[in-house]
């Protein structure tokens, strides 16, 4: 075989795919299917619906007092649940639909594709936060008109920053579980267990066992995110946040990343 001369290909004239172009393509892939499009639209709609219901209750019930921040907190039942699902779908749909074969043939430097997806996830989280802030402003303004209660505009930089960080962390956690499992239903189920079942178990363990109560803040990421909501993070809280975040966010993200990079794409 060595006697055969194989002509070489001149690749010097070709520029590598710019990273921003990959980000734009990945962003397009997030909304160019019905599933993706409606997931994004329903996230925004759900955010609005929950706030409107909350406002209706506030207006009709005399003993309920609402503020700008209470409207923002209602996103616990909308974007806080769906953003991680968006983060999951960004990655796992490439596997369930087998498009990873095409994506990774067109850009065989896989970390660039994955990071482009991550950037899209972060951008979507920021957009969701902007929508939520706008909706909360509108709802609080309407509430002050419709109800007799005093209007409270208790927005602060710390609150807003904490809110943004919470949503970004939610998105990243979904993305991390997705990278770890590479399977949509499995990643969603695990995420739901992590965010709805696990806190209860941690709480139970903390009630029953003294020693567990002591280590819980260090390992319970949901618990550590609590003070972010009220913008009451202390130095110790940040230590809890960093430690538990390392366990639940950084570790799955790193393992998931290395898995995607080495995985045989079928």
């Amino acid at each position: 075989m060595s006697t055969v001369t194989v002509p070489t290909m001149d690749i010097s004239g070709t520029a590598p795919t710019p990273f921003l172009r990959l980000v734009r393509v990945e962003a397009r892939k997030a909304y160019d299917t019905r599933a993706g499009f409606w997931l994004l639209v329903s996230t925004a709609l759900l955010c609005a619906i929950v706030m409107v219901i909350q406002m209706a209750i506030g207006v009709s019930q005399d003993d309920v007092f609402l503020s700008y921040n209470s409207f923002l907190t209602s996103t616990n039942f909308s974007i806080a649940i769906l953003l991680p699902v968006i983060g999951i779908m960004l990655l796992t749909s490439e596997w369930s639909q087998r498009t990873a074969m095409v994506s990774f043939s067109l850009e065989p430097r896989r970390p660039r594709v994955i990071v482009a997806k991550l950037v899209v996830g972060l951008v979507l989280a920021v957009i969701a936060v902007v929508i939520a802030l706008l909706l909360a402003t509108i709802c609080n303004a309407l509430y002050s008109v419709l109800s007799d209660d005093p209007t409270v505009w208790n927005a602060s930089v710390a609150h807003t920053a904490g809110f943004l960080l919470l949503q970004v962390v939610g998105m990243l956690t979904g993305f991390a579980f997705a990278a770890l499992l590479l399977n949509t239903p499995a990643a969603i189920v695990i995420y739901m267990v992590y965010s709805f079942v696990l806190p209860g178990l941690f709480e139970l363990g903390a009630q029953l066992m003294d020693w567990f109560d002591k280590i819980r803040p260090w390992i319970d990421f949901n618990y550590a995110q609590g003070p972010l909501v009220d913008a009451t993070m202390t130095g110790k809280d940040w230590a809890y946040f960093a430690t538990s975040g390392f366990i639940w966010l950084v570790v799955p993200l790193v393992i998931g990343f290395s898995r995607v990079l080495r995985a045989e794409v079928k």
Binding site: V6, M9, I11, V25, M101, S105
Partner: protein, 301 residues
């Protein structure tokens, strides 16, 4: 242009590709032929970096695939026409490819036209495509970046006879303009009509390679067989037998263990009128089945 050297891929104790080496030259269509599960797809997947090799290497134009910048502009790949999002339209799939490679939108329309998909079909979602339409779309996707190398896994699968002829013409023209084509198939006639060069693989090992002539010459160790029908079959049979040639009756005519030219000469000498004379052209197919006999699921009789 494509050079595979000592390529091996193992899955645990199973060896899918076993020390495979071959070269695909520009301006030629190379057919990669083998029964199901012979290792064709795995070899092609290693070429584009989707599957890591256990040993050996593949270079395309002297480069490892991962080192080629914007590889879609140099290497067109179609490994599985169904591996696209079922909810995207054909056009959208091409658009994503074109955007990734940084191509103008006009290129998308050109490719849709080239593979004879109508604009209406291009607007349909992939889940409503037949396999043949998916193949056309996949070929359009592979050609988007105007690559100089094409790697196609079973591209004729699902195409109707007219589609297969169309693809043959397309790839022929592509190779004549200097392109390198590697296409796989498990169907011999698909490959033998289009390929200049054939690589026969079975059980992960290359069992034969070369052009059709070389392959047949290598296989011609057996005795040539000819089918002949004459107005007077018994007379012809007698004349052939007199020369010591083995004759047996087969259908309306005779099966003769000799070259067609020898049978014709005998007929002339015996003044017997022939109505049909042809060599048993199963040569390549026999060779293919024989070479891959160990790996066939059905035993060849």
């Amino acid at each position: 242009m494509i050079e595979v050297v000592g390529l091996t891929r193992k899955y645990g104790s199973f060896t899918a590709v076993d020390d495979v080496s071959f070269v695909c030259q520009p301006g030629r269509v190379t057919g990669f032929l083998g029964p199901n599960g012979a290792g064709k797809t795995t070899t092609m997947r290693v070429m584009v970096g989707l599957t890591p090799a256990t040993a050996g290497r593949v270079t395309i134009g002297g480069h490892v695939y991962q080192d080629i910048p914007n590889p879609g502009r140099h290497v067109g790949v179609l490994l599985d026409a169904s591996a696209q999002h079922a909810g995207r339209t054909g056009r959208e799939i091409l658009e994503i490819g074109a955007r990734t490679m940084g191509l103008p939108d006009s290129r998308i329309d050109e490719m849709i036209e080239l593979v004879s998909l109508t604009p209406q079909e291009a607007k349909r979602r992939l889940r409503n495509y037949s396999l043949g339409m998916k193949q056309r779309l996949g070929i359009a996707h592979a050609l988007l970046g105007d690559p100089s190398v094409l790697i196609l896994d079973e591209p004729a699968n699902g195409l109707d006879p007219a589609g297969i002829r169309w693809m043959r013409g397309l790839l022929r023209g592509y190779a004549e303009r200097g392109g390198t084509v590697l296409l796989s198939s498990h169907l011999l006639h698909e490959v033998e009509q289009i390929a200049d060069e054939m690589i026969l693989i079975g059980n992960g090992r290359i069992v034969a390679q070369g052009d059709k002539k070389t392959l047949l010459a290598g296989a011609a160790k057996g005795i040539a067989t000819t089918f002949v029908t004459a107005l007077d079959n018994p007379a012809l049979a007698a004349a052939l037998s007199a020369k010591g040639i083995t004759v047996a009756s087969a259908g309306d005519g005779l099966r003769v263990e000799a070259e067609a030219v020898e049978v014709g000469r005998t007929a002339l000498e015996a003044t017997v009128v022939l109505t049909d004379l042809r060599s048993a052209d199963g040569g390549l197919e026999d060779l293919f089945l024989e070479l891959t006999a160990d790996t066939q699921r059905e035993t060849v009789v």
